[in-house]
């Protein structure tokens, strides 16, 4: 029986809870406490609601980790955008027409009534919104975190690739391998159209190999600087020639006539190597596993990888044939991860902050572009890492500017949302709806209010709404201290009055510096 997290899954939570309540006594005796459960969830998901924490609290820690790793389906829950099977040539043609049309419009020529939309940026927007939706509703947030992890490791960016279907396919590829096998992932990466466009693999030919893919493979994706020579880069580049795409469809295509099949010497070994041979040699090098483990550590554990633990976990990865589940299991069970002093020792990324806040507060999202813009302003636009190194993360998320902007965004969420019962989702502040809403609120008796789904209403401050603020379905019914324990990974930095109204406590917790941590 797979439990279902996520907003949609919450409705099924009750059934899961009662089933879990029938766990044998031994399992319950080894159960986690609130803080452990909260910590495990907040590191492996996008925030943790009280209901989710409660489910975990009743479980044995190792069993909970196993359950997390066992939850996997390769398809996304959110339906794909309509254009994901569009071919590259067709998209480029449409884009060209749109650009010409817009230029003509500026000259005053052409039919002004038609609204010309450039398909590439439009698809880019839809793609971002699709992924944001998936992050919000997923029932397997750990898988989603791993998709994001691979996206940040094997970087490609929409801004350069300019072919949104390929970024979608790449996302699905990361999804397939999310909790799978790193070796298999590596093989698919060098065949990934978005990657080949991003790192100029498509231009690389035997006569003049392009070194970009070879260099980044060694420098960033696997060994890291200092463990290979320039000659190794050249050899890898030669071996990667021929990996290309079909110009019509944009899908992967091997071009034998572009491939350099000659002898190469790579990391001390010689042979007429092709791409997979190079990858096999790389996978035999101990540094590869260490590089991945160091990144996993900074993603899940703390800002500074422990050298001894890195070596231990790298061995787990290698000895397990590069299967991700065993190393992730070892990571989540490691003393460093579980250490209470480690609670709140990571800085939330923009995606953590935005998605996590929306989920934990149970806010309905009317315009995902708003969330996309917040993430972008804070330095993390999905599908657009700044360069091939990806988002450095960690302390770099917080500068004087981004700290101010984070507080501003959170303050706007606090100021603009209080929850008032309504019998339907709030529309983007529509002129006609506003009045009927106000009328309805005055007519409804208290008991009816309680049972209805609650949604935020624009314009009334959470802080000032006092007793009238009803928190969303996730936080409803909690008292001050429980709210603080749920929202913050450690004691608040600033004095926080837990006896104030629930709305005011939520507001104070969100604006406390500790909320920036996880």
């Amino acid at each position: 029986m797979a439990y279902r997290l996520g907003r949609r899954g919450l409705l099924n939570g009750a059934a899961s809870l009662s089933a879990l309540a029938m766990l044998p006594r031994a399992a319950r005796a080894a159960a986690m406490n609130f803080d452990e459960a909260r910590h495990l969830l907040s590191r492996t998901a996008f925030g943790a609601t009280p209901a989710e924490i409660e489910i975990f609290e009743s479980m044995d820690y190792a069993a909970a980790v196993d359950r997390l790793l066992a939850t996997f389906h390769p398809q996304a829950v959110t339906p794909a955008p309509s254009w994901v099977n569009e071919g590259l040539a067709e998209l480029q043609r449409k884009q060209k027409l749109a650009v010409e049309g817009l230029a003509a419009e500026k000259q005053g020529v052409g039919d002004k009534k038609l609204q010309i939309i450039r398909p590439i940026p439009e698809q880019g927007r839809e793609l971002r919104n699709w992924w944001i939706e998936e992050m919000l509703v997923t029932d397997q947030p750990l898988v989603e975190r791993m998709v994001l992890f691979w996206h940040n490791h094997f970087t490609s960016a929409l801004q350069k690739v300019r072919f949104p279907p390929a970024l979608y396919w790449q996302n699905m590829m990361f999804r397939r391998h999310a909790l799978g096998n790193f070796a298999a992932l590596l093989k698919d990466v060098v065949r990934d159209p978005a990657m080949l466009i991003y790192l100029d693999g498509v231009r690389s030919q035997a006569r003049q190999p392009n070194e970009n893919l070879g260099r980044e493979m060694l420098e960033l994706f696997t060994l890291g600087e200092g463990h290979y020579t320039e000659a190794d880069i050249k050899a890898a580049a030669r071996a990667f020639t021929g990996l290309s795409i079909d110009r019509q469809s944009g899908k992967f295509e091997f071009h034998p006539q572009q491939h350099d099949a000659g002898a190469k010497t790579f990391l001390g070994r010689s042979g007429p190597y092709g791409a997979d041979d190079i990858l096999a040699i790389i996978l035999g090098h101990p540094r590869t596993a260490e590089t991945i483990v160091e990144k996993l550590w900074r993603e899940f554990v703390s800002l500074t990888p422990d050298p001894a633990e890195t070596k231990r976990l790298a061995a787990v990865l290698r000895d397990g044939g590069y299967e991700m589940k065993p190393v992730l299991r070892a990571l989540f069970l490691s003393p460093a991860f579980r250490d209470p002093a480690n609670h709140g020792a990571l800085i939330k990324s923009p995606i953590d902050l935005v998605i996590g806040t929306v989920r934990v507060l149970g806010l309905p999202v009317v315009e995902k572009t708003q969330l996309a813009r917040m993430m972008q302003g804070l330095g993390q636009a999905p599908f657009d890492p700044p360069n091939v190194k990806g988002w450095p993360g960690g302390e770099s998320w917080i500068s004087t500017y981004t700290l101010l902007l984070r507080q501003q965004d959170l303050r706007r969420i606090v100021e603009a949302t209080t929850v008032s019962p309504m019998d339907g989702p709030m529309m983007a502040s529509g002129v006609e709806k506003a009045n009927r809403r106000a009328d309805r609120r005055q007519q409804m008796p208290d008991s009816a209010m309680q049972s209805m789904a609650a949604y935020p209403v624009e314009g009334r401050s959470l802080r000032n709404a006092g007793g009238e603020a009803r928190l969303g379905p996730t936080l409803a019914g909690l008292d001050g201290p429980a709210i603080v324990r749920t929202l913050l990974p450690r004691a608040p930095i600033e004095p926080l009055d837990v006896k104030a109204s629930p709305g005011a406590v939520v507001a104070a917790a969100l604006l406390d510096p500790a909320y920036q941590l996880k």
């Binding site: 302390e395 500017y401 983007a428 502040s429 002129v431």
Partner: protein, 386 residues
């Protein structure tokens, strides 16, 4: 009368150019006091087209009676609760910009205030405040610890890499906590992530410590502000900062409650009274302190409201509305054109002035900065004397 204000006098243009070419020290340095009216202030009942029969037709219940309008000319007048502003009007240092809005207006509070605060087009999403954008590449004098002070809670107009902005509420919390932290042995508990955040926070708010000292030694304003609603307290703080000569470029305050969907009259009247009383007192204080020529005050709101009243004796979200600009060097009078009630767009007032042109005028007149905020053909508005 209105068309003339769109023409940039040659004299004013050359002065502006000279100011731009001058060294940073001699650059025009006014302080902008930005007054946000939160919720969408109803412009039609603020600057009332009292003589227009359509006004009575659209607002049989909530129209402002003719005798309650302070007439400015034969067509428009101010709601009588704005009477305290008449001293500024008669002193010719109150400019009223009519019909300010933008193309493809958005009627969501959240989204529209963002558009104003980042001077973006309706379809754009920017995250940098317009004042920060204006100061991109403009050297800030060293030694000044703070460029912008936000006294209310919406700091977006000043958020950006180019300005050092302090949000006073955050600063007060920070100072309290900094004091508490001094006394504790390990404030970050050995957590490097927390340490980093606290260090950055310290950097953001370090200026606040200096501010607090200056405020503590500041003289109380000559004329006291009304306590009601917190607006007075914000203006009191702004006054002290200005009279203490804290070298900022902008200070922001806000008055909330303008989202009058139901029973508009008593709410808006009370707020207009607070606004006018506060601004009139501010003017008196700054004149007394000899700083009125160094200050430009500007009100703004995320949108105006619909021409017709609704069924709840209120109005719903609309589009354009007037802005008030006051200051010793402001060219008083009506600017722009009142959007005609006979020519509405989906029941809303059209805009005759793009707010980004207003901001461009402020950037030029206040700080000698040339910025078009993305407009290809900015309207030349001349409401601040060089």
């Amino acid at each position: 009368m209105d068309r003339r204000t769109f023409l940039f006098g040659a004299g004013a243009l050359s002065v502006a150019l000279a100011a731009r070419d001058a060294a940073a020290q001699t650059r025009l340095q006014h302080i902008l006091i930005l007054v946000e009216l939160k919720g969408g202030n109803d412009g039609l009942n603020t600057l009332v087209p009292y003589a227009d029969p359509l006004y009575r037709q659209f607002r049989p219940g909530i129209g402002v009676a003719r005798e309650r309008v302070v007439q400015l000319n034969e067509r428009v007048g101010l709601h009588e609760k704005l009477e305290p502003l008449m001293e500024s009007w008669k002193g010719r240092d109150l400019a009223i910009l009519q019909g300010v809005g933008y193309p493809y207006p958005n009627r969501s509070h959240f989204r529209s205030i963002e558009i104003w605060d980042t001077a973006s087009a309706s379809s754009q999403t920017l995250s940098e405040g317009w004042i920060s954008q204006a100061f991109e590449g403009v050297p800030r004098p060293a030694g000044a610890g703070v460029d912008g002070i936000v006294v209310d809670t919406n700091s977006l107009p000043m958020v950006g890499p180019a300005l050092r902005t302090v949000v006073m509420q955050d600063a007060e919390n920070f100072l309290r906590q900094a004091q508490a932290m001094k006394d504790s042995a390990k404030p970050d508990g050995g957590n490097p992530a927390l340490r980093h955040i606290l260090e950055v926070r310290h950097e953001v708010n370090a200026a606040a410590a200096g501010l607090r000292d200056r405020l503590r030694d500041s003289i109380a304003p000559a004329f006291a502000y009304a306590e009601e609603g917190g607006f007075g307290r914000q203006l009191d703080l702004a006054t002290r900062l200005i009279t203490a000569r804290v070298p900022v470029v902008a200070i922001k305050v806000a008055l909330g409650g303008f989202d009058t969907h139901a029973n508009q009259l008593p709410t808006q009247e009370r707020l207009l009274g607070l606004l006018a009383g506060g601004l009139a007192t501010l003017r008196k204080n700054l004149i007394a302190a000899g700083r009125w020529n160094d200050v430009v005050v500007m009100t703004y709101s995320e949108f105006g409201r619909r021409a017709r009243q609704n069924a709840s004796a209120g109005t719903d979200h609309g589009t354009s509305s007037p802005q008030f600009v006051m200051g010793g060097q402001v060219k008083g009078g009506l600017h722009g054109a009142y959007p005609p009630l006979a020519d509405l767009q989906d029941g809303d007032l059209k805009h005759t002035v793009d707010f980004r042109s207003v901001f461009a005028g402020v950037a030029r007149g206040c700080w000698g900065i040339q910025r078009d905020f993305g407009q290809r053909q900015p309207q030349k508005l001349d409401f601040i004397a060089a």
